[in-house]
Symmetry: C2
Subunit: 612 residues, 2 copies
């Protein structure tokens, strides 16, 4: 500050209070922006930030993540959170900054998909812990077997936004590499269900991850279902269509660029998707000689260059390289595993670009099964493979889905559609536009909204088809059942007329109903088993038989047979083509029961002529 | 950074990308958090930030604000915004930081109501201008007649978050004191209506302010209606109930406090509302000897002290001093002036405390008049005298109002109540919890939600009373009209029976209907005017007469009389007590018409026996 005139104006008085505000002070005061708005949320936000970091770090070096989470109550309102990973570890010299300085990180300046990006989350948790419990955070990290682990106790000097190192020691650690954070904060743990949901959903979109949870002694494992590490997303150069004039100015003035670099070379070298020919065109359009050194460009020329860049036809950025979508197949598997619906489908849109950032929207829809039949659809929102657990109402995913007319797909709606429906939407981008630093909700960017709408509408059409087929099936089923109810009477009449025994009509019924029919019959000391496949598909199924007869002597021999207290259990595994019939026999009375496994209840008919 | 072992682990590779991120870089990338999410919003956000600062500065020194706003289109998509105020000005040495450094300001560390608080807004506008137009911002400011004005051209060094001064000169300026900012940014100006609304609403809650708008040559003035400057809100000390353990730790370690200060003196001196007796109690409860020097307290003792502070009975902070609510009367006047409803009422709640911050909620409700009869209620949201123009759906004000059962008050609802309704809610606090830095919506803090609900419910009850009274009035009106429809017939029958001329029944009708009755009659070359006040209130009204008769000769003489093309216009101003009658007469034919002004259409009956 330069010295002022001695006059004391009101401005002089006001100036006395002017001060730089540190970002740590700012976020300490406005901690609700970071998801630390209540003691209830503190635990989940802390776990989420640590897990995000662990997954990102593992992905960087393509390790299958193995994450341990501990939540322990120390006293009333005081909790200890532990998150430990098998990632690459963090260099000792960097640990204080990663955990003790807000806005410090490696991914902010890179254009690629990652969970963390700003370098805010985990240091905000350290800040919150310090504010509420007064205690520093413990970090242990190790980078390889050949080096010791490092243990830090640290906090944040809020006024300076710099790490405050309480202690630093080298130590033994059983892990070859990884990071462990132990953080003590004031909290109320009423969000147990939400924490478990968060981990379950994380597991759905990160099927390569194993998460182990210790909730004050209660253990849970979210096992990995995929054993391939996620391919690391690569950093790309900025796309010309998303580059603002001011940023172009800065790029050109960057100290690492040679002053005599030509504008043509600059365009080709510094941007995604500008080749020699496109660079030529841009220079011609902007009326700039292409060999002009970049240091010679004034604001007017740059403005023309920028306009020409925006107007040039340039392909979208390479989304394959820099994004890591979950894929339709894995989303669908995840839904089936987690919710077991009658119908499940997933759609991945091709990449689009908003403000220069590639975006891929993936969506999935599940219907029926174990999904809640009453009330609004269950909505799972994800951004860059992270479940979004709060502020559903403020998210464009909710907005886009609520704006769809679900009556078109045979559903009623109150905002979201009503019924046993699961909707999952994943937005993957090099820059997901969140509504706040807490990354709870995605902002209303029209391009993204449109992609969500298109993906979900496509799923809606598939659901409509499924529902109408199911209704048709039900109808034809009902007709078939109506016919079948007459058959035994007809058979009886015919038999009486012809004075012959009443024939067994169940195979006919099975054929009409298109089912798998398992039958047990008894004749003269022998029990006959048969399974007929009247469905329109090949089947791999098993027939179970429980009886006091000695099933181990059956022909053909069961693949499994066990006896206990005189009761036999036998299993035959069958492969039956359409229309094929299998049979077996054994000596005995035919007591006990039989059952089919490996086919749905609706598809099977079990006829037990002995016990019935 | 200390030197690392030479081993190259994956962690070494990752560490190469670790970097400090400047807050300017962060907000440049995440500018939607600041309300710069679209070219449409750019202009409004810029104006809003500059106006907020101007109003705050004027309030600090209790000047009546006079603000000029210019919005000028420079070329397609390029706009220049000018905001100029008559505030105290800013010292030249501070200007670069106020406008060219994010998180620099005077109000962050003060506990009192103000519009700006973080030191983000106006420098974010400078950052956005630089990013989109590449141009620096011009600032002119002057602190008194005895000093020259200073003119700066400046931008922000984004990577360092420091001002980048392009030029600085002293200059002449016609203002004695004030500040002018001229900022060039890329924008589309489709939000004309919203800008005008924003200024109109600002004017409602800042009645002491005059705002002049120049929209590319189109001028508008929002005139002040109150000529008293707002009383400056005073800074208060932190309240013990809102002080977290970590903050207490920092306060005790503050370098400006004498190390030997006793804990007792510290409590009394550093907090709001702790007197000697309360400090005694806290020390006893925490089992700390009250003369212990503050430098002797360890974490365990501090934790006990903190717990005792939270449990002590301490009155809420002094909201009168640090808050500046609008007041019921001014809100009501503002609504009446702006919307002219049939019913208007305002409620101010008494101050409450959330997390140590005092909050006052004020609400108002208008019904009928010029308010739109169809659709949802019009909702005006304000925080610390600033209109909130975006993200209505994400705001707790909307949430609280939608959660009220409006059927209780005789209204239907779809979220908000339906009908010709205006709802206004103002939240004033030393720390309004916004959902993001753009300060568009208030976060869901239960204490604040409850206050909004209670204030609006009270207004709902008043509205219900008004509506039921109005319905009763209408009913009795209808009855009176039914009776009046018989009177002429009865008069006619009676006159026929008695063989007398039919009497004039209109005064009777006026009396039954409780109206003001104006009558013009003609008899033998003289015209008689009369006005009878049958209402239950005293009235100041005017009677207008238009005629070719020479009204200037009437007795009593009109207060105003004009002749043009042989047509006279005359006006008499009358004060009539309840039941009082006024009359006048003049020579002529009685052609033309008469009218009453100064009373509602429903209240007056004009009977013109000559022209009818």
């Amino acid at each position: 500050m330069t010295p002022e005139a001695p006059m004391q104006t009101p401005a002089h008085q006001l100036a006395r209070d002017h001060r730089t505000i540190s970002i740590a002070e700012f976020f300490e005061k406005n901690r609700h922006l970071l998801g630390f708005d209540s003691p209830t949320r503190g635990i989940i936000t802390t776990v989420k930030e640590a897990v995000d970091n662990a997954l990102d770090a593992c992905e960087e070096v393509e390790i299958l993540p193995d994450i341990f989470i501990g939540v322990h109550k120390l006293s009333d309102g005081l909790y200890k959170i532990i998150v430990e990973d098998n990632g690459p570890g963090i260099l000792a010299s960097h640990i204080p900054f990663v955990f003790g300085k807000i806005l410090y990180g490696s991914r902010f300046h890179q254009i690629r998909q990652s969970r963390g990006q700003q370098g805010i989350g985990i240091s905000a948790a350290v800040l919150y812990a310090q504010l509420t419990s007064g205690q520093p955070t413990q970090i242990i990290s190790r980078c390889s077997y050949h080096e010791p682990a490092h243990e830090f106790l640290l906090g944040i000097d809020t006024e300076a936004n710099e790490p405050n190192i309480v202690s630093h020691t080298e130590r033994e650690w059983e892990r070859a590499h990884g990071t462990r954070i132990e953080i003590t904060l004031k909290a109320t743990f009423s969000a147990r269900k939400r924490l478990i949901e968060y981990l379950a959903y994380s597991s759905v979109v990160n099927p390569h991850t194993r998460i182990t949870l210790d909730l004050d002694g209660e253990h849970m494992v979210f096992e990995r279902t995929d054993h391939e590490p996620i391919k690391k997303a690569e950093s790309i150069k900025p796309h010309p269509h998303g580059t603002e004039l001011g940023r172009l100015q800065r790029m050109i003035a960057h100290k690492e660029l040679p002053k005599h670099m030509t504008i043509h070379a600059f365009l080709v070298d510094q941007f995604s998707k500008i080749g020699i020919k496109t660079a030529d065109e841009i220079c011609i359009h902007a009326q700039i000689e292409k060999n002009t050194p970049i240091s010679h460009l004034d604001l007017a020329t740059l403005t023309a260059l920028h306009a020409a860049m925006q107007q040039a036809k340039i392909p979208p950025p390479n989304a394959q390289a820099c994004l890591s979508p979950i894929t339709e197949d894995q989303i669908r598997q995840g839904i089936l595993k987690e919710f077991n619906p009658d119908f499940a489908s997933a759609k991945a849109r091709t990449a689009i670009v908003y403000a220069g950032h590639p975006v891929v929207v993936e969506a999935a829809l599940g219907y029926g099964g174990s999904l809640e039949a009453e009330g609004q659809a269950k909505l799972l929102r994800f951004a860059n493979r992270v479940p979004l657990m709060y502020q559903q109402g403020a998210c464009i995913i909710t907005g886009a889905i609520s704006a769809i007319n679900w009556r078109n797909y045979g559903l009623s709606q109150q905002g979201l559609p009503l019924g046993p429906i699961l909707l999952l939407v994943h937005v993957a981008s090099t820059n997901v536009p969140f509504t706040s630093e807490s990354k709870d909700a995605i902002a209303a960017v029209p391009e993204i909204e449109k992609e969500i709408t298109l993906a979900v509408q496509e799923l809606g059409r598939e659901l409509k088809l499924f529902l109408s087929r199911r209704d048709k099936m039900r109808q034809s089923d009902e007709r078939a059942q109506a016919i079948c109810s007459f058959i035994p009477d007809i058979a009886q009449k015919v038999a009486e007329t012809l004075e012959r025994p009443v024939p067994d009509t169940s195979p006919i019924e099975g054929r009409i109903l298109k089912r798998v029919v398992a039958k047990k019959q008894y004749r003269d000391g022998t029990v006959y088993l048969s399974v007929s496949n009247y469905t329109s598909t090949e089947l791999d199924i098993s027939i179970y038989c429980f009886s006091s007869d000695n099933l181990s002597l059956a022909s053909p021999k069961p693949v499994y047979c066990d006896e206990s207290d005189g009761e036999y259990t036998a299993v035959w595994n069958l492969h039956l083509a359409c229309g094929e019939k299998w049979s077996a026999e054994f000596l005995g009375t035919g007591d006990g029961t039989i059952d089919l496994r490996g086919t749905s209840d609706e598809q099977k008919v079990v006829i037990d002529h002995v016990s019935s």
